[in-house]
Subunit: 301 residues, 4 copies
């Protein structure tokens, strides 16, 4: 129990200074400060850190932040949606995402531009993606786990901004339990019409359970909910461990019952996180909160 | 352009009466009325109706509503999360979900009770699930698409309240692109440790694309977002059709960029829905809005 | 602790039937059922019921629902925003609200149409309001409390759909602590340029505190938060009573710290509600939830 | 139309650097960057800046940020809730707000601690407030506008962290249209039982309309919605001007129809903002976004 001191904003502040000001306060500001401390503690205690992320973070420009965390040993296991992998590869192949495009959705359709709120992508980026991915798929073995396929893809990229590439370089597994639910998935289907191609999803369960079942400490970071959050948490159901740290940035809420909005405390009842775990939920747009938290954690390490 | 007339609530109203009152108004009330008309029109125009649902709707007791819609030819293709399938099977096997349980999450953990906001499930329901599902898996072929596995499981159930059962009876495919992300997925993994077991996710893409590629009209209904919403929409990317009707009930919002909260209009830019489609989004907890809409649609048909 | 039974939706259901189905479930559905029971119990225990409402409920067509609750002794004290009073009077004077108007905001501006999401009002309704209200103000005494002014205005109306009128007829006080923050407030200001006109806000505090300080039971119903919620709750700070029942329908959330989203439990720490009070929060658009709850309560009484 | 470049987070970043990274992106991050540019432009164009704020920002520690903006001529007119004024005075009188307090609401009640989500205040701070405010009230004239009362109170304070004090020092009016809806309001009522005390709310309407009716440019900043947002906007209804800039930080959403969540574009239809105005809405907890935006704006000026 302490006093709430007045936050003060001055010229020339660093992100660390800003977080120190947040720390004086409560509500979302207090939570950001708590999240920074929690992430820092996870790193100091040498946790194995599982990062799950959903939502269009790569189209929004946040892919490199994740790539750099992998590069710097600040994330050790990744669970992604198929869409974020697809868009990561699009950029690695030379395609791009746009902002500031004007027009109604029906006009965009005519111009060959696809919209993700205020991010946009041209059809030609998808055509480039198709060419490049079909080439790569030809060189891949017919039956593999999803994480192995992504490792093989990562091997063939040469963009250091790609999280799929960095994961390959650092031997960090990338799990995508719903890969068929993505444009990459559609291309795997098209490829499978010509050549044998079979993804082993079940094998990846074994792999993440093994990673969860560590002798040391495990920590989880969730950006949004969806499949990545559940897939990381459920790994603990078959493990003798449970998470000692968990941090989520979400905009959903618990009262509707979906896992995306569920409190981290709820996971205690399932044994996914331990009773004496340290938990922190930041209710905020991840494109605002995550860069800020990462910048502050980098400063403190 | 019309007048907003005062809504009037009286003793003895039917759900249809209530929706007629909503129709006089705007905001959420107006949207509910619009959703009822849209669903009714989808049925009248003999649309092929794709239902995607995410969030803990089956634990919340909404599984039978979906089962009955399948039974009555009001839904023709289903895309579910792995969790909703798991909980559907738990009930079909004789397990149950509970309400009104009191206690902290750590106390629940000790009592062997798992929490989903204010729904609960005892560990013994999961044990029952394990016994029954392992028996069924033994009788299933080693390589199948996910939808074929669920058809086989549906064949062996005898609960008419189960949507997996009703889908089997009506030959409605159930797609679960992220099956490995569920407790059913975990049991498939355990089973695969003993016996060959390989799920073909890619094959299901071909199957849903074929269903999407119809000569007649297609309509989509989304309860929540997540993988089911995207998997239904992306089927149109490989199809020459696009949805002429779409209805979503969601609590997420568009500004954070995730697909769960994306407007249906955005899907026009991707060609997932047609330019002149009829679209309706209801921003509401699906456990409130969906039963109400279904009851009113049943009344009007 | 009980079982969650599957909800079943059939042709020809009444609103009461629907709520009985909700009662089997959880999340929002369960809360609606709980809200119906709570409101019914408030009436049975002969609570003095304080209704606070914010948001554009009257433009949305919900004013008559409130008027009828006052008429039928189901609400005994009203706290409103100035906007809801203004729009109630506009309709009582013969003006109207519209729906289904198309056009950009700048086009609406040119057409003399003002927008409240998908409700609209023509400038001429405000001109009509000006004429009528200036006439009425001339006949009102120069110094009065806000609730007395509204009583005088109510006396001069002849629309039974107006909650201001019904409150006058039933001697239910209508408090509007932020009256100057409304178009009615602007007209009071214009009137005050010509004639003495002074609103006594402080007096109304005494009046609501006296109403709160009852020997019997008090209950509160909040549609949205804002000033009405706080003004009702703070009355208990100067009273020896506290609320034994409270029901809120809100779409805000607690984590940002604003009172609109605050849990009802928080009010226990302030002594605004009693420790053993019965509390229920429904997270839903009030235009959906409130008509439904009222219809069901009417059925059960 | 431009490319979305990957955001990069490095050790030692300033808040300005962070905002430059946000500027590369979209969704919330892009909006923060836009808000910084907008506020900077308001200052460069010498706008008269109206700041409205609702929600428990002062208990959360953000009062000094507002005080400093007033001190530095970065805000010229203030509209507050009664609660924020009350809590500002509590701190100016030597009381304080707390964080990190543990316990159920009924336990807090027994300990004499009142809760505002995770901010807390002891009853003794309210007792201190009562003593000090009753002293001050004795020295104030019986009939005054609310803004004049607050000016008189500001004159008697000696804390530079108080926004009420800074407003007095800089001759910035503080409007509180719902003053009676606050603990300060309750004390005015108690005081009025002994001595004549009459607040003129109507007079303040004239005052803000005059301020809105400027020859130069006007800009609005809203933290949350509620009465402060509406009171600032409605001033333009009686003015020949309209806002050329508006910036809001909100967590509400437009679809429920309340003004708190209304888009700024909607205000064009009412003539509150001009057709060619520059508008920016950040959907975020104001305790996170506002300090960040202020720090970056200070850096760029």
């Amino acid at each position: 129990m302490g006093k709430i001191y007045p936050l003060e904003m001055k010229k020339g502040m660093s992100v660390s200074d800003l977080v120190r000001e947040y720390e004086k306060g409560v509500f979302g500001a207090g939570k950001i400060a708590e999240a920074v401390s929690l992430y820092k503690e996870m790193l100091e205690k040498e946790c194995r850190i599982f990062l799950g992320f959903a939502g269009a973070l790569v189209p929004a420009g946040l892919g490199k932040i994740i790539a750099d965390l992998i590069r710097d040993d600040m994330v050790h296991v990744v669970v992604s949606t198929g869409a974020n992998v697809t868009h990561d590869l699009i950029e690695a192949f030379g395609g791009s995402h746009l902002k500031g495009v004007q027009g109604e959705d029906s006009e965009l359709r005519e111009k060959g531009i696809d919209r993700i709120y205020d991010a946009f992508i041209e059809d030609r980026s998808f055509i480039l993606f198709e060419e490049k991915i079909q080439e790569i798929l030809k060189e891949i073995e017919p039956v593999m786990s999803v994480s192995d396929v992504l490792k093989e893809i990562g091997r063939k990229l040469n963009s250091s901004d790609s999280f799929v590439r960095q994961a390959y370089l650092k031997d960090v597994p990338v799990f995508v339990p719903a890969l068929s639910d993505s444009i990459l998935g559609l291309h795997l289907f098209l490829y499978s019409q010509e050549c044998a191609c079979q993804l082993d999803h079940v094998k990846d369960i074994g792999k993440i359970v093994e990673l969860a079942n560590i002798s040391g400490r495990a920590g989880a970071i969730f950006l949004g909910g969806g499949v990545p959050k559940n897939f990381i948490f459920q790994a603990m159901l078959l493990s003798s461990s449970s998470f000692e740290y968990a941090l989520q940035i979400t905009t959903e809420r618990p009262e509707y019952g979906g896992l995306s909005g569920a409190t981290l405390e709820e996971a205690i009842s399932w044994g996914k996180v331990s009773k004496d775990s340290k938990l922190c939920t930041v209710y905020c747009d991840a494109t605002i909160a995550f860069p800020l938290i990462v910048a502050a954690v980098r400063d403190r390490c």
